[in-house]
Assembly symmetry: C2
Homo-oligomer: 392 residues x 2
């Protein structure tokens, strides 16, 4: 047994050595271009055709400057003018949060646009994707994203959501529309789907191509804190007991049912019934969607869980009316979140999907190729999911 362990250690050592070798000796392709997520007129950060991110910042007195992206820190190199430059390993296609470290201070890159994620406004970058056409800004009819402020009784305070209305909403003021309630993940907020998610561009392009019915999308703030903690729940919290803890989604469920839906039905031209209402979310928002729709099958017809669990036969058996009332269950993950079909949350989404199909529930399962627990998986999920909604 000991011999095996030694052998394994040697193998790991060789493997890690070869990884280092690959990292340091592989030539970096010099076809960098400014990222589309840069501030106006900024040359850096840049991205090359391999998906490497190159940043650059003037910091003449600094001793150490690093690029911090996808949980890896890369040392930058200083030139004779005090400008630090360097690049990362290739990144997945799509959107990534990142930051700079300057002599021990974690700061946003002054050249990038800023996004709310990881519980802070900070830098983000777009890596060009082979399929980016579906979320690009084009000369097609555009809907609006509106900021909606409202008083919430259940929170006894003002709240904010963003509402996407489709291109013809302002033109035909008689027409009424179905509604999708679409939630962000942990450490994000109501700006996630409008900014990182590109919700409006995905929908405008789908509607222009005749691939999706026009519908309203409501993006609210589902942030929720672990009792006694100042952050949303994380998978690691499981070690503290059952996870998610019992009743964890109740606060947002109350807000959704008692405040958000009535406010939207009062202020927008919705078709205010179960057949024309859906809910979806990513990660924490998917877990909220699961809990809220299982508890309210008479409120929602369409259910989307993006990297946020799946619905099991146990769930169905414990949710009266779900099987009869719900028209569609959509479950998705990024391929890098899965190992032998299982997720890091322990579920088996494909097996769950097959079980639901067998009892006659209209269930769809989608895996985003070569992406992880990140926005490209969720953009693609929305793109697939939206084409299935409100069609009958």
């Amino acid at each position: 047994m000991k011999r095996h362990l030694v052998f394994l250690a040697i193998l790991l050592f060789i493997f890690s050595g070869s990884l280092c070798f690959a990292q340091t000796n592989q030539p970096v392709k010099e076809d960098f271009k400014p990222a589309t997520s840069n501030q106006p007129g900024k040359e850096y950060p840049m991205v090359n055709s391999e998906g490497r991110v190159r940043v650059s910042i003037l910091a003449p007195v600094a001793q150490k400057v690093q690029l911090d992206i996808s949980a890896v820190k890369y040392d930058l190199i200083k030139d004779e003018n005090g400008v630090w430059t360097g690049e990362s390993e290739p990144q997945d296609e799509g959107f990534h949060y990142y930051q700079l470290w300057i002599d021990g201070a974690a700061v946003p890159d002054p050249n990038s646009l800023y996004f709310y994620g990881a519980s802070r406004w900070g830098s983000g970058i777009e890596i060009p994707a082979h399929d980016q056409e579906f979320y690009e800004l084009k000369d097609v009819p555009h809907g609006q994203i509106s900021e909606q402020l409202y008083f919430s009784k259940s929170n006894n305070g003002m709240r904010r959501c963003f509402v996407y209305t489709p291109p013809d909403y302002n033109k035909d003021t008689e027409k009424r529309y179905p509604v999708l309630y679409l939630q962000h993940g942990g450490g994000e907020d109501e700006t996630g789907w409008p900014n990182q998610g590109r919700t409006n561009l995905i929908m405008d392009n789908l509607i222009a191509d005749g691939k999706a019915k026009p519908f309203i999308i409501v993006m609210d703030n589902g942030s929720w804190r672990m009792p006694g903690q100042d952050r949303p729940p994380r998978p690691g919290d499981r070690s503290a007991g059952t996870w998610p803890p019992a009743g964890w989604a109740d606060g947002f469920k109350k807000t959704m049912i008692e405040d958000i839906i009535p406010m939207i039905d009062e202020n927008y031209r919705t078709i205010a019934d179960q057949q024309h209402r859906g809910m979806a979310g990513l990660s924490m928002g998917g877990m909220q969607t699961r809990v809220i729709t299982l508890a309210n099958p008479k409120v929602f017809s369409y259910v989307g869980l993006f990297s946020g669990g799946s619905i099991t036969m146990d769930d169905i058996n414990n949710s009266p009316n779900f099987k009869e009332k719900v028209k569609l269950v959509f479950v998705s993950y990024g391929s890098r979140e899965l190992e032998n079909g299982k997720t890091r949350f322990g579920g088996n989404p494909e097996a769950d999907t097959e079980a639901l199909k067998k009892i006659g529930i209209n269930t769809h399962y989608y895996v985003s190729p070569l992406t992880a627990h990140e926005w490209q998986s969720w953009r693609r999920s929305l793109h697939k999911f939206a084409q299935l909604l409100f069609k009958d």
Copy 2:
């Protein structure tokens, strides 16, 4: 004469000495509170009752960290944990851009919200104001701010504006509204009035109090570059010849008249005539408003110039129809922008106002107390101006 100069020099020396004395020895009031413009959950930056800004950042390896606000850099002091902290002199009431310097790198404060100004997304801070009630978020009926994407023929590309619609816009889908076109300043963009300007809150509060008629506000991007330069015009450019240079506002004038107004009239329930259309702007946006409305008195009835010049008798004489067609001219400045009634641009807004009044033009002049060329002057200007609009 020489004796007088020596005397003056001595006086100045004493005065500057006493200023230094006051700065270093005046005790800082220890009643700092987190700024309302902080990111969620962030303790710093803080502001005290004198309007001093205190920032704090962990930068254990840094040698020098500074707070840079209102064109002054303040050294921070490092504690035993590597946390740098320090504060500024008292700031004017209202909103200010700022940044941090870490070992020679200019970066946003990771704790603040970010705003577009000074040609970059960066940190901003709210200093509590004695009159802040007029732009506070309250439980009153709220309008929406919508992001509107559109194709512009005159620019041959996609553009973006934000549109404020009043609280009852979505409720009564028959009603039509007047429109104000409201422009930002140099180095800012279409996000300035929605974010720093708090346009929606100012309007929602005024409408709730019955002090303003409900109207639509369109906030577009008037950015314009000096030929051959990569930045908007600045007063210093006068040294290069006449300023603003001839024809400098023509690009945005064309976009406004040929693209923006028709697009808004097509997509929103406007009253699409001269009597129900106004234009206003701050600084560069005021200068654009002046040029565009003088050239188009048959398009606009209401004119607002905030820290952006005034309309002279020469202007009136050179603009056929202006006197007959325009219902209101509103001119404003921050008190700190004026010296003996004159502005740093050389104009005399009060004298110009009086001259226009004498020939029967409905002209208003407003000076924002104890503010400079900054957002608090412009929030107050909008607050005054909005109460005068579309009332007959």
